[in-house]
Every structure is written in C-alpha cells, then in structure tokens.
C-alpha cells in the first residue's frame, strides 16, 4: 500500500483526472467486483510485507512479532486487528464486492462460511487445499470451510464445542445434585433437561432455567441434520425436525426461559442477579462469564450436552484472490494454524483450537479453572469436541438468512406473540425470500 501512496504523490493532477474518467468507464464495463485477472502475483522479498486482518482476539500478536524478528523468515508480516466482527464483516463485504482493498489474509467468522463456500463467492478465494493438512483439524470444522466440490476456502482456527455451564449453588437450593459427575445425567437429552428445568423453577421461582430461548434454539438446531435446506440447496422449513425444535422452545419459553435477548443489557444483568441457572457454553463463553460475574461463586461446567454435542462459533483464515502474494499468504496461514502456533495462540486468546494436535497438547496439560470450581476445562472441551458431529447441521447457501428469520420467530414468542402466528410469519418470510 505504501508503495502506491508514494507514486500517487508524483502523479500530475491531469493524469489523475484522466484516470478518474477512465476508471468511470472501465468501472462500469467491469462492474461486479474483482476477478478481472489483473491481480498479478508478486514475489515478496525479505523486507516486503504480507498483510493480515483479524478481528477480536486471535492471539497472533506474539507469533507475528517472533516471525518478524527471525532473520531466516522470507518476508515480514503486518497484522491489523479490528475489534468487532460486525465492523470487520462490513469492511470485508465491501472489499469482496468491490474486488479491492483486502489484505493478503483475512479472518472469517464461521457463520459467514456457508455463504462464502457457495457458488460464485468461492471464486473470490484461493484454493488452500493441501493433502498433508487433510487430518490437521476437526473434521466438522474442516468441512465447513470447503465447497461442495472440495475446494478448501479457509483453514479453521478455533472451534466452539459446547458444554453446559451451570450454577451449582442454585442447583443445591433447588434440591438438585450439584457436583460435576452427578449432574451429567440431567443433561443427557433435551427431554430430561427440560423436565429438570420444570422441577428447578418450581423450587426456585425467581430464577429461570436457561439464559435465553435463542441460545437453546441454536443449540438444538445444531443437532438437526437438514434444518432449512436439503442437500441440493432446496429450501424446506416445513420439516418435522425443525418444527420440533421450534415447538419445544416455544412451549418452555414462558416457564423456563428468561425471555431476554442474548447480548443485550437484560441478558447481561442475568449473570449477577441470579437470572438463570444454566447456559450452553462453548469454550469462549468461559471468559465472558468470569468477566460478567466476577463475584458470583457457584458457576461450574458439566462435561455433557443434551442430545450429544454441538458447536457454536469458530473462525477461519482465507486468502482472497485479489491478494498479490497468494503463495506467501497460503504459507503463512498454514503456519498460523499449525499445532505449535495454535497452542500458543490459544493461551493468549483463550479460545479452543480446531487443530487436533493442539487440542491433545492442551488436554495433556490438563488445565483447571478455579473460578469454575476447578473444572478441568481443557479436558472437558477436548471431550466435547469429539462429540461434535461432522457435517451436521447442513448449512446451505441461505442458511444465514433463514436462521435470522427463525431467531426472530423465537424472539416474537418471547415478546408475547402466539407461537402459531409467529411460525406463520416465519414461513411467509422464508417464502418471500427467493
């Protein structure tokens, strides 16, 4: 970028204006973003810089510093960190739509992946396929970064295998078992989970059973094989599995749910005012609970998840075709996601690596967390990761849109709309999408 900036200062004004007019014309004829084939590849020398953008905390700061300090490395790396995914998503979307301006490596939140592996979008990314890496990551995460015809768009960084966090002190108050081993049975399947909830709220009426209808809906949804679309991308929301998820969540909303929306102020308040007793808990949620309720004693983590397992969150590294240093970018993405890097990054960022070898290294260290009553966090997460089914749920190209409408439908029920009516609005909305 800095090279370009220098040359512009030397460009005479007239040339600039001419260029503007030319680009007006050229821009219109080549409307529709990049991929015009003008992205010449340039080899990076030792003092040249490869650029990467991540969001939130990936824990790569020290790794990149070490890389840059090592004279043996073939190029330098500069990382830009954007604090929030929402912001970075806008920036990334703009970069993809205009075909310009993206860094050599971009970090992508897992929820966006189904849209990017779809036809059309996948052409904007370099194929990162590397046979040697086929078994480096959890299969479920690896497959989500892949197009239907096997082109690897992204290397997985972290994963969000879900356990359940619970308030042992409130469990005791309700006369339920409270130690990690004996509560496992309560989280055996969804029916047991809801039934236990009803017992709980009968004893402790001022506290709800779970944090929000949305998080439970999401957790159950993640165990449905084809929630919204069939294998051939046909929209089908009238399937009994999806309806079963909706009915359960709607049924228990008034009694077991806080009926507040995740991440909002009211939800946040629930951590400290005994608002709820359980919540689905991917690894990255641990730090969030600790920061939200530093003084609350009684949070614990159970090594179980109703109905098997599930994943919530996790990101990818990808190389857009507009990069002029695709080879180097691929090499560096490979480096960042290897076991050693991922163990180091995980210790900084507090997330759970999707890299299998890194997982076992962490599990062997057998870290425990005093805040969660000395729960063996790394071991629990490794176990939960094994329980995540590969390829479930199937996320079609419209997954994100329909999921948004589905969550809105749940939200309406929370706000008092009749479940049947809300469901009708949902199916109507899906039909109008096409």
């Amino acid at each position: 970028m800095s090279k370009i900036s220098k040359s512009w200062r030397r460009t005479p004004r007239t040339a600039l204006a001419a260029c503007a007019v030319a680009s007006l014309v050229a821009g219109l004829t080549a409307c529709g973003g990049g991929g015009d084939g003008d992205d010449e590849q340039a080899k990076l020398g030792k003092d040249d810089t490869l650029t990467i953008t991540t969001f939130s905390e990936f824990g790569y700061g020290d790794l990149i510093e070490e890389w840059n300090a090592d004279p043996e490395r073939p190029f330098k790396v500069k990382q830009t960190v954007v604090a929030e995914w929402d912001t970075w998503k806008q920036s990334l979307t703009t970069g993809l739509q205009s075909g310009e301006g993206l860094t050599d490596i971009v970090a992508i939140e897992g929820d966006m992946m189904p849209a990017l592996v779809a036809e059309g979008a996948s052409e904007q990314f370099v194929d990162l396929t590397d046979k040697e890496l086929d078994s480096r990551w959890m299969e479920s995460k690896y497959l989500e970064g892949q197009t239907a015809d096997g082109k690897q768009i992204g290397y997985p960084t972290d994963a969000g295998p879900e356990a359940f966090c619970y308030r042992a002190d409130l469990f005791e108050k309700a006369g339920l078992p409270s130690d990690r081993e004996s509560v496992k049975a309560l989280f055996k399947d969804w029916d047991t989970y809801f039934a236990t909830g009803e017992k709980f709220v009968a004893k402790v009426p001022e506290t709800k059973w779970y944090d929000s209808s949305g998080s439970i809906a999401q957790a159950m949804l993640n165990q449905v094989e084809f929630p919204f679309q069939t294998k051939d991308q046909k929209i089908d929301v009238d399937n009994p599995e999806l309806r079963a998820v909706y009915d359960s969540v709607a049924k228990y909303a008034p009694t077991l749910s806080t009926q507040v929306e995740q991440w909002k102020e009211d939800w946040q308040a629930g951590f400290t005012n005994n608002g709820f007793a359980t919540m689905p808990c991917p690894g990255w949620m641990f730090a969030n609970i600790k920061d939200s309720a530093p003084d609350v004693k009684g949070w614990d983590i159970v090594d179980a998840f109703p109905g098997g397992g599930g994943n919530w969150g996790g990101s990818y590294l990808a190389v857009p075709t507009q990069s002029q240093h695709q080879e180097e970018a691929k090499e560096f993405a490979n480096y960042l996601t290897n076991a050693e890097s991922q163990v180091a990054a995980s210790k900084v960022a507090g997330n759970f690596p999707a890299n299998l070898e890194a997982q076992s290294v962490l599990a062997e260290e057998n870290a425990t967390d005093p805040y969660f009553n000395n729960a063996p966090t790394s071991q629990i997460l490794a176990n939960r990761a094994e329980a995540v089914p590969a390829g479930v749920p199937f996320k079609g190209d419209k997954y994100s849109d329909i999921l948004g409408l589905f969550q809105q439908a749940i939200r309406r029920v929370d706000e008092g709309t009749d479940p049947e009516k809300s469901w009708a609005t949902f199916t109507e909305g899906v039909e109008g999408m096409s």
């Binding site: 900036s5 260029c19 905390e57 604090a83 970069g95 301006g101 969030n288």
Partner: protein, 276 residues
Amino acid sequence: MSRRPGFLVYGLLTAFLLGSAFPLYWSFVIGSVTRQRAIQSPPPLVPGGHFFENAARVFDRIDFWSALLNSVIISGISAASVVLFSTLAGYSFAKLRFRGANAGMVFVVATLAVPTQLALVPMLKQFSNLGLTGTHAAVILPWVVTAFGVFFMRQYLVDAIPDELIDAARVDGASMIRTFWTVAIPAARPAMAILGLFTFMQVWTDFMWPLIVLQGSDVQTLQTALDALKVAPGQGQSDMALVQAGTILATVPLLLLFIATGRHLVSGIMQGAVKG
C-alpha cells in the same frame, strides 16, 4: 438592549446542558476508574483517580500520537477546504446571477438525498483505481466540498449580505474575487466558523470509510486506532476503562477546537455589524 434573560432561561439551559454533557461525563468517569470497577454494578457515577494510569496504558497499546497527527491533518484540511469552497459556491448561488443557477442549486440539494449505505463499494473501487488506498488523500477527498456546506452557505448568505454592499464594491471597481473577499467573507464569518467546526467533527469521528480505505496501511486515524482498544483480552469483556480513557483523549482536541471556535462565532457576530 433590554434582552436580559431571566431565571427561567438559565434553568432551561442548565437542564439541557446536563442532558447534553452527561454521556461525556460518564465516559470520563469510566475512564478514570480501574478496569474491575468499570464493569461492577452499580456503575460508578463519580470519577476515580486512575485516569492517568489508563491514559498511559492507551499510549502503550496504540500509536496514539501518529494517529492524532493524521487525524489533525485529515480533519484540518477537510474543514478548511469545505469552508473555502462551500462559501465560494454558496456566495455564487446566493448573490450572483448566472444561467443555470437555480437548476444547479436544486441539483446540489438533490445529491444530499442520495443514500450512502451502498456507496462504499463503488468508492473503494474508484479510489483503488486512482491508486489512493492507504493515503491521507483517500480520507480527505470525499470531504473537499460537500452539498451540505454549499446549501448551508447559500441559505445563510442570501439574507446576510445586503445587495447594496456588493453593488457598492463593484462600483468602486473591485474584481469579483475581491468583492467576495471584502464583502462576503466578513459577513459569512459566523457561518464559516460553524461549518468548519461541524466538518472537522464529522471527519474526526468518521470510522467506517477510513477503516476500509486505509486497511493494512501505516496511515491510521484516531478512530481506527482506538478501535484496537476494544479487543477483549482472552475473549472476555472489553476493558471499558481503557476504551473510555482513549475516547476522552481523542475528544480533548475537539473540545479545544470548540473553545477556539466559540470565541470566533461570537466575535464574528459582533463584526456582523457590517450589515448596517
């Protein structure tokens, strides 16, 4: 003049002031307590004594001074340029007769109505074609002259300059630009001060466009640099004390500018006596 305000006026204004200033005050409160205190409930309402510690951490985490310099350059040039060109154009539309003036003015106002939500994509293409991504110019150029500024100056000047003054200057043999300089500028001073202030503030707080067009470059503005403070270490919650200390540090230059412009606004009015 017997226009002395009474108790009621001061009361109303005080109420308004409290409402206006509270978020900024609260931002300072959070920026002056410890990280732990910042997220405890009930939230703190009086300042703590840790502002300088937090500020030191801000300087430690981001390249504050270079970002500040960039922001001053970008906002300063933008504001100066908007004021100059908008006053010229506004004066021309308000006071000079020329063919197409009305159509031109309607056009200017119509461009205000264009929604900007989708403009980022073509703008990024355009600036990339011009080779401007990653430069100061990329952030300044969209602010060289704005429809808002032209419309504002036009409406202000239409009544603020009596036509007789312009005629008199012309009779004296003054050139057009000289007339503009000696007649229009003095009358336009208060409006220029306000327009300059608004533009400076808007460019100063602009976030999305600089973020996109400066991506991966060494040129960063205060807002894009401050964003990094929000990153929560270890996936927990953001260090609000740090974030708010950064916000306050970035606001201080604006407040200084406020004070400077405020005087100008008032004195401009006193000199507004040009208008007989």
